[in-house]
């Protein structure tokens, strides 16, 4: 508004200056023109004053001559016509008149040559004859020429018998007019001798006089007003001189009139103004030109300054605009809001922020050509800017609404709040459209909504959980309580007591597993579960899985088969415990839900890793068990999900196993999937990625000794796999698919003096089995070549038979290179001969041992002491950590074989007590085995126990098998001799 006002004021100022300049200039030039006119008309008056005086003198002279000639004629007397004629002819020669006339009082005349006629003197005749005054008359005689007659009255006389009393001479008007011509005006001046009524007597017109009455012409062809005409004619009649400026036939003229001095005759001069004032006008023109040049220079300077200033302002403005544009471009590129400006009249796009393409995938240039192109990005077929809605927005008003756009290239969806402002910029209507990104807000709302739903679900889950837990806990508890009551009642019946005890034990185990799973699940879901990454051996895991699951499968007469596809790394980095947990869950489920006589296959497949430093394995557990419905497959990984069927109802389960498995797989960054059909079995597939340790190839002495081996397996595929693996180790592999062939090959090589360095025999082959083959080989080639048994069975079961057949060592299927070298190493180094690789059996391991037991709970302590007593061990009880430390420190070295340490105890917990023991000066402070014995069963608890200096971890309630296993491992099988 202020700028607009400034511009208006500037414009008004310029107009005022221009108007003032024009007015002043006009006044100045009027003044100059008037001065020039005055000066030039003064000049004109002087010139024509001289002309007029000359004409008057000519008139007087003619009259004087006529009077003199009259006197002369009177003096010489009548009758001397010849003399008169001669005299007057001479005078005619001298004075140039055209004719000499003798006139009577009625106008009759006779010329000097004797021609007679009548002159039309009009009113002048009376003045001449009766007034006795000289006259000048135009057009008095019809001579074929325009002439003027000058006449004077004289004494009456007679010429050639003609009585006269007036003498006259005539001049042609052309001759007379030449005397009026003025050379000063380049022949452009017109001069008239006219009567006061306008009748023209003489004129100097170039072609002759064409005017009968010049006054009439002036009235018709000039711009002289009636009043001026009247004044002028009055001046003529009054014998007053005058001058005026007028336009005649479009040309400005100076009209000058002066009385001739005879009658009302006037000398009228008409001279073009530019001729009269030629000199003055030249000065004026020069002055004007100089002034114009000065004004132009000043004007040009002002214009140049204005242009320069305007350029500077424009440049500054342009820079500002460009800077703002640039800033706005940077701003819009750094935010997810879109800005558009449309012309209100035609919706032409004036501006679009450059982030349009980034946000919705439409190039800015394309949108500039037509904003409607954005409509193809709008989800739900909406219209971007309905014209009617835009037009309905009042000036300075706005509308807004939410809309969803989909990126043209990526398909990404974004939510915007579109606000349209109707504004006026310099009077031009504009629509400013702001598309404010609300995607995050929308997503947050969705998340909140989802969180709300999740909270509701969690609440429902909690209710369900409590309901499930109530049911699942009460069920075994009901059995325990019920059978305890029955046991009390039937205490006298040992068979019933044993039966009740077995069932109570089974229910307790179920309850325990339920609690373990619930706690595990809780731990996972709370995010407190972390992975304990360390190197692990895949063959060892498979070996352990075999040990755990083979007995279960065997118990149900199921075929259990482990296969390896490809060459998976044998040592990797991962959480072995969790991996075991996952695989045991899957495999135990397979065993559990596969009917007796069913088939379970466990395969490990090496997949291409994403990077060389990783290994990617696919574990697949396939069974031909009861399978699952399609609906249940969707729910299988949810907690407490168990398919309800007549079969599953007979199978105990917490419904948490697969949920835990799924959570652990997720935790390890893997994926788990299931394919199943009711009655046809299920296949669970887990894909996990493990980091590979820096390569550290174990140095086996056997490598130097083994260059060729013989493999015998009825499955040729296994033979080929082993050959491929071992050839990678630089070992030549021969294989046989039957025992007989193996014997034949061994004998043949033996015969050639090139025995195989090792023979590997499948334990179970059709026809000649592993034992029989080994025996045959031993019989024919002796004991020089080590023989290994490759088996899917529990080694303990076949050990005796195998050793008797001459088998030196055992390997579990599947075949691993590392396992091979570990197995054969002792055979070549002599470090143990045919050492068993299978897990040891620790029965009676505690017999005669003395344990320091730290347990604050009396009931638990009592149970433990009783159990240990049953195992043949003695125990001394400490009720807290402090007491345990004290008792140990006070003991003699070797007094205690081991300390069983509860963790949560009053006064001092188990961890602190362990640390104090380890830190004490007791001779066995560092070596005394300390085993945690706690209800804290998570991996973190195990880790914490180890970190505190303990050597092992036993979970409550105690599994005596595990107790024996651990104690046996820590103390060895050497039974303490008390």
């Amino acid at each position: 508004m202020k700028k607009w006002l400034e511009r208006l004021l500037l414009l008004l100022l310029v107009c005022a200056v221009a108007a003032a300049t024009l007015i002043i200039g006009n006044i100045y030039f009027d003044y100059i023109s008037d001065r020039i006119f005055e000066d030039s008309t003064g000049h004109l008056s002087e010139i024509y004053g001289q002309v007029n005086r000359a004409f008057g003198a000519f008139l007087e002279r003619n009259w004087k001559l006529l009077e003199d000639w009259g006197d002369y004629l009177r003096l010489i007397g009548e009758g001397r016509d010849a003399q008169v004629e001669e005299y007057l002819r001479e005078e005619q020669e001298n004075w140039g008149f055209t004719e000499f006339y003798f006139l009577t009082d009625d106008g009759s005349f006779m010329t000097l040559g004797g021609r007679t006629g009548v002159a039309d003197l009009g009113d002048d005749l009376g003045q001449l004859v009766y007034g006795r005054e000289p006259v000048m008359v135009g057009e008095a005689l019809d001579t074929g020429q325009d002439i003027t007659v000058y006449a004077v009255p004289v004494e009456p006389g007679t010429f050639r018998g003609f009585d006269y009393e007036v003498l006259a001479i005539s001049f042609t008007n052309a001759d007379l007019a030449s005397s009026l011509n003025v050379d000063a005006f380049s022949g452009k001046a017109k001069c008239f001798v006219i009567h006061s009524n306008g009748d023209v007597l003489l004129s100097t017109l170039a072609g002759g006089n064409i005017f009968s009455n010049y006054l009439v012409y002036l009235k018709a062809a000039s711009d002289i007003g009636a009043e001026a005409i009247d004044k002028m004619t009055q001046d003529w009649r009054d014998g007053v001189s005058g001058v005026l400026r007028c336009e005649i036939a479009g040309v400005t003229n100076c009209v000058l009139y002066q009385p001739v001095g005879y009658q009302d005759y006037v000398l009228l001069s008409v001279v073009p103004q530019n001729v009269v004032s030629a000199g003055f006008l030249s000065v004026q023109r020069t002055t004007t030109n100089v002034l114009v040049v000065i004004f132009l220079l000043v004007g040009l300077t002002v214009v140049a300054l204005i242009i320069l200033r305007s350029y500077r302002l424009s440049r500054r403005s342009r820079v500002e605009i460009l800077s703002r544009d640039r800033m706005f471009e940077v701003l819009s590129n750094s935010i997810d809001d879109i800005f558009i400006m449309l012309n209100a009249s035609d919706q032409h796009v004036d501006y679009i922020s450059p982030n349009l393409e980034r946000l919705i995938g439409i190039p800015v240039d394309e949108a500039r050509r037509g904003i409607r192109v954005m409509e193809k990005c709008v989800v739900n077929d909406d219209v971007v800017f309905p014209k009617t809605q835009l037009e309905a927005i009042p000036l300075n008003g706005n509308i807004y609404r939410e809309c969803e756009y989909m990126h043209q290239n990526t398909g990404e969806r974004r939510w915007y709040r579109m606000t349209v402002y109707h504004v006026a910029i310099e009077g031009v209507g504009k629509y400013i459209i702001v598309l404010s990104d609300r995607t995050l807000e929308r997503q947050m709302n969705q998340k909140l909504q989802e969180a709300l739903s999740a909270a509701k679900s969690a609440n429902e889950a909690k209710s369900n959980f409590l309901s499930n837990m109530s049911h699942d806990i009460r069920t075994p508890m009901n059995a325990i309580v019920g059978f305890s009551m029955l046991m009390d009642k039937d205490a006298a019946n040992p068979d019933k007591v044993r039966e009740y005890t077995r069932k109570i034990k089974a229910s307790s185990q179920h309850l325990l597993s339920l609690i373990n799973d619930v706690l595990d699940m809780s731990k996972i879901e709370s995010g407190k579960t972390s992975l304990n990454l360390d190197t692990f051996s895949l063959p060892q895991i498979l070996d352990e899985l075999s040990i755990i699951l083979l007995p279960q499968a065997k118990a149900k007469e199921q075929e259990f088969k482990i296969t390896v596809q490809g060459a998976p790394p044998e040592v990797m980095i991962g959480d072995k415990l969790r991996l075991n947990q996952i695989l045991i869950n899957l495999l135990s489920n397979a065993v559990k839900y596969t009917p007796a006589g069913g088939k379970i296959e466990f395969s490990i497949q090496d997949l291409p890793p994403a990077a060389p430093q990783y290994a990617k394995l696919r574990f697949a557990v396939r069974d031909n068990g009861i399978g699952m419905s399609e609906e249940f497959q969707k729910e299988i990984f949810a907690p407490f999900s168990r398919e309800i069927s007549s079969v599953t109802n007979k199978i105990q389960g917490t419904g948490l196993g697969m949920a835990i498995t799924k959570s652990l797989v997720d935790l390890m960054g893997g994926i788990i999937s299931v394919e199943s059909a009711p009655g046809k079995g299920s296949t669970f597939t887990v894909e996990l990625t493990f980091a590979l340790p820096e390569h550290r190839e174990a140095e086996y002495a056997a490598r130097q000794r083994v260059s060729s081996i013989l493999v015998a397996d009825d499955e040729e595929e296994i033979c080929l796999d082993i050959r491929e693996l071992m050839e990678g180790e630089g070992v030549e592999v021969s294989y046989a698919t039957s025992g007989e062939a193996a014997v034949e090959a061994a004998v043949e090589r033996h015969g050639s003096g090139r025995d195989f360095d090792v023979i590997v025999l499948d334990w179970k082959m059709p026809g000649m089995g592993g034992a029989e083959t080994a025996r045959a080989i031993r019989e024919q080639i002796g004991n020089g070549v080590p023989i290994l048994a490759l088996t899917s069975y529990d080694c303990g079961e076949i050990e005796e038979e195998a050793r008797s057949a001459g088998i030196n060592a055992f390997m579990s299927k599947p075949f691993f290179v590392t396992s091979f070298w570990q197995t054969v190493e002792p055979l070549f180094t002599g470090s143990g001969g045919a050492k068993e690789t299978r897990p040891e059996h620790h029965a009676g391991v505690m017999e005669g041992r003395r344990f320091l037991v730290a347990e604050d709970n009396e009931l638990n302590a009592e149970i433990l002491l009783e159990v240990m007593d049953l195992e043949g061990a003695s125990c001394e009880l400490a009720v807290n950590g402090r007491e345990a430390v004290d008792m140990f420190l006070k003991s003699q070295p070797g007094y205690y074989d081991m300390i069983l340490m509860d963790v949560q105890m009053p006064i001092m917990n188990g961890y602190d007590a362990t640390r104090q023991i380890r830190a004490s000066g007791h001779p066995e402070a560092k070596t005394i085995p300390i085993v945690a014995m706690t209800a804290n069963t998570f991996a973190e608890d195990v880790r914490d126990a180890l970190n505190a200096g303990m050597d092992g971890h036993l979970a409550k309630p105690l599994n005596m098998g595990a107790v024996r296993e651990l104690i046996g491992r820590l103390l060895g099988d050497d039974k303490k001799q008390s």
Partner: protein, 421 residues
Amino acid sequence: MKTRRMLCLVLALILALALCACGDSGDGGAITIMGKKSDLDKSYMQEIFRHYESSTGGKIKLISVEDAEFEVEAARRFENGEGPDILMHFNNADLSRFDVAEDFLYLNDQPWAGELTDSARNYCLDGEGNLLGLPYWESSVSGCYYNKTIFDSLGLKPAATQAEFDTLCEVLAQTGYTPICWPASGCCWMFQFALDPVFADDPELLSKINANETTYAQIPAVLGMAEWIDSAAARGWFGGDYMDTGWDQISPMLSSGKAVMTFIWDTWFYTDFKGGEYTVEDFALMPAFLGTADKGTYEGGNLNMMMVNKNGDRVDEALDFLKFCATPENYNVAFEGISTVSTFVGQNTNIESQMVTNAKPSIAALERVSTASTRVYGYSDVDVSECINSLLTGKTDPEGCVAMMDEKRIGEAKDRGIPGF
């Protein structure tokens, strides 16, 4: 009886001779008059024929020939000795088709010769002053007709010289008028007005050009005409639309006052002029100034004259008929109410325009017999108009224009077989 028989025989012989004589002429004693059909059909001609027959009992037989065929047919008849007693002919160049001295009577001595006005008499003379026929025709005066009312309103008077005329034109142009209505489209009579003084004032020059001993190009006045027309057009004296101005535009231009002057004849004002803001009373006559005569010129009327076949069968009767026609009481009967300039001194029943009457002194001094179009062999108004229009449209200059005029004139003369060409 014998005498009676002889008398009867003589009477029978006389009767037979009379019948024989009648049979030879084939016209029953009537005077044969030959002319163009349109000429013989003129009311005053029909009137004088009727008046003669009713007054004298004499008979007239008209030999009416289609206009286009007239000249050839008439010449053929005279050449074959079959000429009529009286031939009506304009005293123009076509008369060269005849052997005038051998075919026609000179009429200088006829009693009615003094009854003719000077202009009429002059028109009917041959190059040697012989009166060739009795003019019996309507006549007009061609000159510059100007709007006197407009002149008076501007305080102007008619020009007496070419210079004054030019000044007049300039003043009129300056005051917003079109000085001259110049009908360049289809009108061509103006040029004979211009050239009449050239040849009428110098019979020797006329003889030389007809003998192909000189050309227009060698006559300064002809070039003067072309230059004046070219200059007048350039100075705007013809207005702006003169090339599109034709016969029909002359009247409205003059009656509206848009144009002030034009070169035409007085009877046009009574036959074709339609008054508007200005009527015929507003116009007056002054000499035509077309760059060839300083004092200007008037062209007398082209008169149809009756020529007597000196070898005809009824020469005396034909002369008597001419005498009858030239008698005041007869020609005043024939021309009663006819708008024409008087041909006879005693002519008083015709209607003579006031314009001509007022200009009579000037006409008397400056009138020329129509000479260019009638006496110059090969002259054609149309041809000259074509040449002048080429000049006015810038296709040629004045010298080129005159050369074109010569070329066309000489070409036409050659086509007609004029001796010397």
